[in-house]
Amino acid sequence: MLILHCPYCGVSAEETEFAPGGEAHIKRFGPGASDEEFRDYLFARENPKGVHFERWRHAYGCGKWFHAARCTVTLEVFGTYPAQTTEPPQAIRDAISAKRPGWSWREFE
C-alpha cells in the first residue's frame, strides 16, 4: 500500500486514490517509424529491479498525470514530478543519487 505525493494538488495520498500508468518518458513513434521503433515504443520496457520512473494518475483526486521515481524492490519513492517533461528533473536525479549512488535508467543517471 503505497503513499504517493501528487505534485499538482500537493497532497500525499493512499495508493487507492491513484491509477498506475506504466513506464515514464517513453517517446511516441507514429507513422513513419520503423517496425522495430514502433514495437519498442509500445512494448519494450525497462522493468528494472531497482530505480524506476513511472507514470501515475491522481484518478480519484485532481485527475492529473504525474511521474514518480521509485525503487521496485524496496518501494521507496525518491520523488514525484509533473508529467509535462521528457526527462526526469535534476532535483529528482540528485535525490536518487543521494540514496542510490551510481544508479542508471535508460540514458539517465
Binding site: 500500500m1 487507492t16 512494448f43 519494450a44 520496457r45 522493468n47 528494472p48
Partner: protein, 414 residues
C-alpha cells in the same frame, strides 16, 4: 534411485526411514554443458526433463539462484485448466493438462493432479456470450468443455449463491477435466526425474552475466564460476527482464505482484474450482482443506513479493457474495508472487536476438497450469529450432501486431 511406492515406504519404515536417499543430487557445476537452463522452477525443470525424455539431451545443467521451485511454482493457486479461447493458447494449455493427467506415473512422484473440474461463472450477458464462444472454440480445438446453466452450477457447487442480487449466475463454462495439483510436488518430481537422468540441478547459483562470442552465446558467469554451453534457455519468470538485459536485449515484459491467500483448513465444502471474473475472485479447496483464493494484480512494477491489501479486500467481498457461508472462515496466510506480464498477456516461447539463447517467460498469472506443456514445447524449440506448440508465441508477434489476446474471454488473474 529408490523407486517410490507404498511398498518402499513400508520397507523403509522398518529402519525409521533412515534409508532414504536424496530426491535429487547436489552436484558441483561442470565446466561445460550442452544446454544450460537458467531457472529451476516448474517451467525450467520441465524443459530439462523433456529435453532428456523426448530428445535424449541429458548433458544439461539447471541453474537456480535460490532453491528449486522457490518462485511462482510454489506460490500460485494450483489451478489447471485449458479452456482458452485462442487456438494457440488452448493447444499448449491442453497439452499441459493432458500431460498432468499422467505426470505422477511419468515421474514416479505423486503430484496429486486432481481433475475435479473448473467452473468459470458468467454473471453478465457479455460474459455469457464470451463463454459460449469459448465453448464453441474448445469443441473444435479438442478441449472438452461445456456451457451449463445456473441450476447445474448449483448442483456442482452447493455453497454457491446463484441468485446474487447484483450479479446473478447466468451460467458457466465447465471443464470437467480441469483441476488442481500439488504445486511443490510438480517441481520436486521433475527435479528428481531430471537428476535421475544425470542432469545437474545447481541451486544457490546466480547467473551474473551471459557470455557471447559475436552474436552467439558461449556460456554464463555465475556466483559459482563460469560455465560454458552450446544453448541457453532463460526460464526465470519475473526476472526475465534482468537476464535479458545481461544478454543485451529488452523484453515486452513488466513484473507485477499477484497476491493469493488461504483460509484455515475445514472439511470439504467445495469440490470444484470456481472462477468469477466479473467480480474478480477465484476459489478452490486444497486436499488439506484450505480454501485457496486469488484475485487481481497490482498494476505497478514490483519485485517485493508483497501486494496492496485493498485487492484482497475486494476479492473477499466478491467471494462472500458468491459463497455466503465463508464469511466466518478466517484468512490464515496471504502472500505475493512476482508475475511477468507481456504486452498481450500471453507467454513468450521464442528464439531471441542472440543466437542459441531461447526464452520462455511471460506466463503472467497463469503459468502453473502450463508447466508440462511449456516444458514440452520449449524443449522441442531448443532441440529442433521450432515447435508447433510454441510457434505463435514467438517474440516477433510484437513487431507484426499478431497478438494472442485471451482477455476476450477472461479478464482476471488465474
Amino acid at each position: 534411485m529408490t523407486r517410490y511406492s507404498a511398498f518402499a515406504v513400508a520397507r523403509e519404515a522398518l529402519s525409521y526411514h533412515t534409508g532414504w536417499g536424496r530426491a535429487w543430487r547436489a552436484p558441483e557445476p561442470k565446466k561445460r554443458y550442452d544446454v544450460i537452463i537458467v531457472g529451476a522452477g516448474g517451467h525450467g525443470l520441465a524443459t530439462a526433463y523433456y529435453l532428456g525424455r523426448n530428445f535424449g539431451i541429458t548433458n544439461v545443467a539447471i541453474l537456480e539462484k535460490g532453491w528449486l521451485g522457490g518462485g511462482n511454482t510454489g506460490r500460485n493457486t494450483t489451478i489447471i485448466r485449458s479452456n482458452y479461447l485462442q487456438d494457440s493458447s488452448s493447444a499448449i494449455f491442453e497439452k499441459a493438462r493432458s500431460l498432468y493427467e499422467g505426470l505422477s506415473q511419468d515421474l514416479n512422484y505423486n503430484v496429486m493432479f486432481s481433475p475435479r473440474g473448473c467452473l468459470m461463472l458468467a454473471q453478465t450477458q457479455h460474459e455469457v456470450r464470451g463463454y459460449q464462444r469459448t465453448a464453441h472454440a474448445n469443441a473444435l480445438q479438442g478441449v472438452e468443455t461445456e456451457w451449463i446453466g445456473p441450476e447445474r452450477v448449483k448442483e456442482l457447487v452447493p455453497i454457491i449463491n446463484i441468485d446474487g442480487p447484483r450479479y446473478p449466475v447466468l451460467g458457466a463454462l465447465w471443464q470437467a477435466r480441469a483441476g488442481t495439483a500439488r504445486h511443490d510436488a510438480v517441481a520436486w518430481g521433475y527435479a528428481r526425474a531430471c537428476s535421475d537422468m544425470g542432469m545437474d540441478i545447481i541451486q544457490n547459483c546466480e547467473v551474473t552475466g551471459i557470455r557471447r562470442d559475436g552474436g552467439k552465446v558461449v556460456g554464463v558467469s555465475t556466483t559459482r564460476g563460469e560455465i560454458d554451453c552450446d544453448k541457453l534457455g532463460l526460464v526465470v519468470a519475473g526476472h526475465s527482464g534482468v537476464l535479458a538485459r545481461m544478454a543485451g536485449f529488452r523484453l515486452p515484459i513488466e513484473s507485477v505482484a499477484l497476491q493469493a491467500l488461504v483460509s484455515e483448513p475445514v472439511k470439504p465444502c467445495i469440490d470444484v474450482v470456481v472462477m468469477a471474473n466479473t467480480v474478480h475472485g477465484y476459489m478452490s479447496q486444497s486436499d488439506k482443506g484450505e480454501l485457496v483464493i486469488g484475485g487481481g494484480t497490482d498494476a505497478f512494477n514490483n519485485y517485493s513479493q508483497r501486494g496492496s491489501f485493498h485487492h484482497i479486500e475486494h476479492t473477499m467481498a466478491a467471494l462472500i457474495e458468491t459463497f455466503p457461508i465463508i464469511s466466518r472462515l478466517k484468512m490464515l496466510r496471504q502472500w505475493g508472487g512476482i508475475v511477468d506480464m507481456t504486452g498481450d498477456r500471453s507467454p513468450i516461447l521464442s528464439k531471441t536476438p542472440v543466437e542459441n539463447i531461447f526464452i520462455n517467460c511471460g506466463w503472467g498469472t497463469g503459468g502453473f497450469k502450463a508447466i508440462p506443456g511449456s516444458g514440452w514445447a520449449f524443449a522441442e524449440l531448443m532441440a529442433k529450432g521450432q515447435s508447433p506448440l510454441a510457434e505463435e508465441f514467438s517474440l516477433d508477434r510484437f513487431t507484426e501486431g499478431r497478438f494472442i489476446d485471451e482477455s476476450v474471454a477472461a479478464g482476471v488473474a488465474h
